[in-house]
Amino acid sequence: MQELIKAEAGKDAAISNQAEIRVTKLSKKLRYIRENYFLYLLIAPAIILTIVFKYIPMYGAIIAFKDFSTIKGILGSEWVGLENFTKFLSSPNFGTIFMSTLKLSFYGLLLGFPIPIILALMLNQVRRAAIKKNVQLVLYAPNFISVVVIVGMLFIFLSPTGPINQIVTMLTGEPIGFLSDPDYFRSIYILSGIWQAAGWSSIIYVAALANVDPELHNAATLDGANIIQRMIHIDLPTLKPLMAVTFILGAGGIMAIGFEKAYLMQTTMNLPTSEILPTYVYKVGLQAGDYAYSAAVGLFNSVINVILLVVVNYIVKKLNEGEGLY
């Protein structure tokens, strides 16, 4: 009995001890904050902007589940459950828009992913530093051209009377409707994207290759390996972790495909392939004013994105001996 009481008392003491530790920890933290208040003042603007412009809209996304009217406001509007979602999923547009979005980004990733790697491997073989630098200067430049100008140039070059069609007309007798034919939209979108971004995307790979120990290459050369063999067995394995991360991020962003370029490239005739989820959200929401429905489509898009990111990360991890994004 006595022992039991002792044990109980011991437990109590332990508990109050823990509580004390917690209290001293808390007071220590409070003291830290008081003594270093300047640090908290510094971070405050960023915190406020994040809460206002990132977290409040996340809360605002609940209008996707409401029959939203601007008069009643977010809180006052009535709940309608998944009505906005079912309306979208059962609409005749859904299949086309969803597939257009998926295809555009999937092909974009498939073609756009390897090219920067190949460029980096090739740049890495250029021995004269001055030449390498100038080639890089040119290849990186398109990254700094605005979307409006890129699409403007596409319109100029591909118009029925533009320089490319002048050649086509000379060869076949009639111009190709690059901008009006929906079959061409994806190729034009993706190829021009590669033209603009491939050089810039190669930077991180070029940097990684610069860190490869030259002794490895020397040793391999002594063993009779040629350049291609050394690329495959020395350079590529070096790039593997970077490739995994870039690929996961790219695949996770598949549904987050940029609005800006697709919207500019849209003509009334190429809509069957050029209407993608983000442009649809914009048109339904801001042009037609159906806020709740549009927010539902947007939310649907983000959810698919997160799922994709998780799934692709899982697959890459499996294939890549446990190395993924997280």
């Binding site: 960023a46 990132k54 605002g60 996304a61 100008v149 100029i156 914009y282 801001l286």
Partner: protein
């Protein structure tokens, strides 16, 4: 490098260089074409293409563009938005990054998580638009500057840079009795010029080249930045009638509007073209620091 090349290797290297040369051509030809075309007489361009005969050249496109009000206003607005945006983003990012780089900063994980969540989840276009509207920021410069001012990537970049500053410097200053405020403004910031420069350049270029926020938040044409003016010239084909004087024939009008396209591309890209060769290495550095995490 004392690797000896075999004949096989030399062949591969030659092919390698040919491919790279082709890549350079693919990038350069469209750009050079636009620049040359902007100086061509439109009739010549339409019938013969690029000509190197000086009598076929003309500065008409540039004259029209430079005399155009919308273009000039757009240019001024773009400078305003880009500079304003760069200043706000850089200041906010640097301020936020410093505490996050300090050892033992209480709440570091909490704040970091709070920032990183926003990289993966967002409320989306419509809720953000409704918020900006409710705040009464439509048709003001704040709609362009504030919603995008927080860029988690920038905060991570700056934090990484701050962490690279030797801790002994902080310690020494602390021993001398300097406050956090003094340390930040007198020691950390002066050592951080490269990263400040990189962040500012990124912000400036990003804002200069974007049109989307301006399109949804600014109705008033007087507030439109250059990219929206360009959009109406290049993509919507709606050349401002005031730009081409009075009673010209339709054909002439079409020709001139083609001309204006080329010259407006060149003019609008001019600030970046001039800056680019000098700043390329800084931009590159930015990518590097970021990829180290």
């Amino acid at each position: 490098m004392n690797i000896k090349y075999t004949r096989m290797d030399r062949m591969i290297l030659t092919l390698n260089n040919i491919f790279l040369f082709l890549a350079v051509l693919v990038v350069l030809v469209p750009l050079v074409y636009v620049v040359l075309a902007s100086f061509m007489d439109p009739t010549v361009l339409l019938n013969k293409g690029i000509s190197f005969n000086l009598s076929d050249w003309s500065l008409k496109g540039y004259k029209l563009i430079l005399g155009n009000d919308a273009m000039l206003k757009g240019f001024i607005n773009s400078v305003l938005y880009s500079v304003g945006f760069a200043v706000v983003t850089v200041v906010v990012s640097l301020f936020a990054a410093y505490p996050l780089s300090v050892n033992g900063f209480v709440g570091k994980n909490f704040f970091m998580t709070m920032f990183i969540i926003t990289m993966f989840f967002s409320g989306g276009l419509i809720p953000t638009y409704l918020l900006v509207k409710d705040l009464g920021m439509l048709n003001t410069i704040w709609a362009i500057i504030l919603p995008g001012a927080i860029n988690v990537w920038n905060i991570i970049l700056a934090r990484t840079y701050f962490k690279g500053i030797p801790y002994e410097l902080h310690e020494a200053a602390k021993v001398d009795g300097a406050s956090d405020l003094l340390i930040f403004f007198k020691i950390v910031l002066p050592l951080s010029k490269p990263i400040i420069f990189v962040l500012a350049m990124y912000a400036f270029v990003g804002q200069w080249n974007s049109y989307f926020d301006a399109m949804i938040y600014l109705d008033d044409p007087n507030l439109h930045p250059l990219q929206l003016v360009l959009r109406s010239i290049l993509i919507q084909n709606s050349t401002d009638p005031g730009m081409i004087s009075d009673q010209l024939a339709m054909a002439e009008l079409k020709k001139l509007s083609e001309m204006i396209k080329y010259s407006s591309i060149v003019i609008s890209s001019l600030p970046l073209i001039v800056m680019y060769p000098f700043f390329q290495k800084y931009f590159e550095k930015g990518v590097m620091v970021g990829s180290l995490k």
